[in-house]
Subunit: 351 residues, 2 copies
DNA sequence: TTCCGGCGTGAATACGCATTCAATCTGTGC
DNA sequence: GCACAGATTGAATGCGTATTCACGCCGGAA
């Protein structure tokens, strides 16, 4: 146990034991290559004896494919992105690829992360919730590495993006509020630099104004895309009766909606939806739980992951990188109790 | 944009442009190597012009160090482990290492994951919440790759582990329950194969029995370490009045405690802590939120991460792997409102 | 002046594998 | 029995870098 053999058997060792050439060993571990079945078995057996495990690093050097995909996370405090990470891990693992994970500061630049990722010759980069300079995108593309922005787009960027119909989702929440009779509103926005937050807010406001709601009946808070941010923003805005509490509050994402809801109950002893109705966006797992039962717009993560991987086209490395596609998938309004349903068609199962 | 230069500049390209040898370029990117400053600057400039990024894959091949650490996640539905992942990512990124992330089925074997990890010549393996055969441990150790079990230990294994004082934590919750006057109990256990769950439960029961509580006053439910599992277990156990609802319920981890709490409120209209008091373990971010305000045992993630990285000793690859250390760090009881405090010293800030 | 230690440098090599190329072997059709 | 297509095979090479080795150079000590 104290000895350190440091003996990672190589394909040559296996070849020697099996009485074949190193080429044969390589072929034995490369599906679809031409090798007599009897010999293949003999090699596998020898490999087993030596605890041989092929060295993917060396393999990558010759094949120019690492089978590694980088996932860069911009806001690990939002459970949504962890759900997304999980979805990508499952999918990529299933097809034999590895996930190299990075985090960057919430709202920060991911340039440095990209640079580090590039060193590892990843086959693709998935960027969630993070800023990215166009220089970095072309750096990747020039090297044949596709970049996909998940739930985000950068105007004028060459990088493709996959996102939910954010503006439309904002409209759906607004429509739900209106149907429930709300006349005064607040919304809690996230990262001001992020288009996601902007789009949802825009759709929300547009719909309200179409319904004749005045701009002065819609206040805006900044929640920085996190629970605590929204919680504090609500407390700050409404304490001392400085601002009148509106009929309805739209949290630009679920975690902020939850923070707002908790703040309203805890600090102002208000009831949801009786005193204030609340809408969210994402449909994270927590949103359906008993204390929240949040009416929200569900982002179809599975579908978005599919679209992302399609753009990455990891299976066809030689297909050119598609220039700047912007894939938009529709969200779906999930009725729960944080907004009174016009008709009694809300979800009944709460857990 | 449509052309695919596929031109990843190599150190030779940079050398040619800078008028030096490839060795010099390599040295320019290797801190601490002997190279004239003037020449180093010239090389950096040439590299910039060519968008040269050193190829870590090739570097790994010669150095025998990949600077990649594998983190294997066993239960992504428990936010605790995502917090742990985040902590490791931050730490490892800060010291210039990469994180290769894997998931395995909740409670499943991680052998296959290990095998895949080994191919990538990772410098270390961190395993959270997952089973592992001893054969895999020695496979790693024989190759000089340290393995650390996070929050888990495998009796008789060569792998070191870092964990919280689980039994002691269970005792602390039991003590809190007793101090608050509880006389009948339930506990919701997680993965039956996991030692973590067993240890916490054991400490809990031991303490109760020391206080003269009979075994028949302690019922046991299975929650499979997830929110929904605990929720359903509580509903199943207590509906129809089959079992009398106890004074206190110990969720072996916070997420199950939360599931239990929501079930009690939603399905049985009970109040916490008035009707039932609840204790948890982990102190995940959600535990402090208004609807839960869970009294729980905080696991010192930072300290546990430190200990884990110390065992990995990534900086000294040649130091022999320490045989089977079992590092135990104490948890700390965090008083919140889900258990009435004997004296009024609970946390007041809820969000 | 001579000697020596140390720095700076480039040529050459190794890392572990996939793949090309040419050679050998197999079986088929005639 | 012969020619030939296809299947197997191994030697050799390349992937991009770090590192060793040997050499030239400089400055200080003797």
């Amino acid at each position: 146990m104290n000895i350190r053999p440091r003996t990672r058997a190589t394909s040559f060792d296996v070849a020697a034991l099996a009485g074949v050439s190193q080429s044969a060993v390589s072929r034995a571990f490369t599906p679809g290559s031409s090798l007599a079945e009897e010999k293949r078995l003999r090699i596998i057996e020898a490999a087993r004896k030596l605890n041989y495990v092929p060295n993917s690093i060396a393999r990558s050097l010759t094949t120019q494919r690492s089978n590694i995909v980088a996932v860069i996370l911009g806001n690990t405090a939002n459970p949504f992105y962890l759900q997304v990470l999980e979805a990508f891990m499952h999918r990529l693992q299933a097809e034999g690829r590895q996930v190299l994970t990075f985090t960057v500061e919430n709202g920060g630049e991911s340039d440095e992360a990209i640079l580090r990722v590039l060193r590892y010759q990843v086959d693709g980069v998935i960027l969630t919730s993070a800023q990215l300079s166009t220089r970095m995108v072309s750096l990747c593309h020039d090297r044949g590495i596709p970049v996909v922005l998940f739930n985000r787009y950068i105007p004028g960027s060459d990088a493709s993006g996959v996102r939910c119909a954010n503006a439309e989702g904002g409209r759906q929440i607004a429509t739900a509020f209106l149907a429930a009779g709300a006349r005064s509103f607040a919304m809690i926005k996230g990262d001001p630099k992020g288009t996601t937050s902007q789009d949802r807010a825009r759709g929300f406001v547009d719909r309200l104004m179409e319904a004749g709601i005045g701009r002065d009946a819609i206040s805006e808070l900044e929640g920085h895309s996190v629970y605590d941010g929204a919680h504090e923003a609500v407390v700050r805005e409404f304490r001392d009766g400085r601002t009148k509490i509106p009929d309805a509050i739209f949290g630009i994402n679920d975690i902020m909606a939850m923070g707002a809801m908790d703040a309203l109950r805890q600090r102002f002893s208000l009831k949801v939806p009786d005193d204030v109705m609340i809408g969210g966006f994402d449909d994270i797992a927590e949103a359906r739980r008993f204390p929240y039962r949040l009416t929200t717009v569900r982002q179809p993560i599975g579908q978005m992951v599919d679209e992302t991987l399609a753009i990455l086209h990891l299976d066809e490395p030689h297909r050119p990188i598609e220039p700047g596609r912007d894939v938009v998938v529709p969200g779906r309004l999930i009725w729960r109790r944080s907004i009174p349903a016009p008709r009694g068609d809300g979800e009944t199962k709460g857990a």
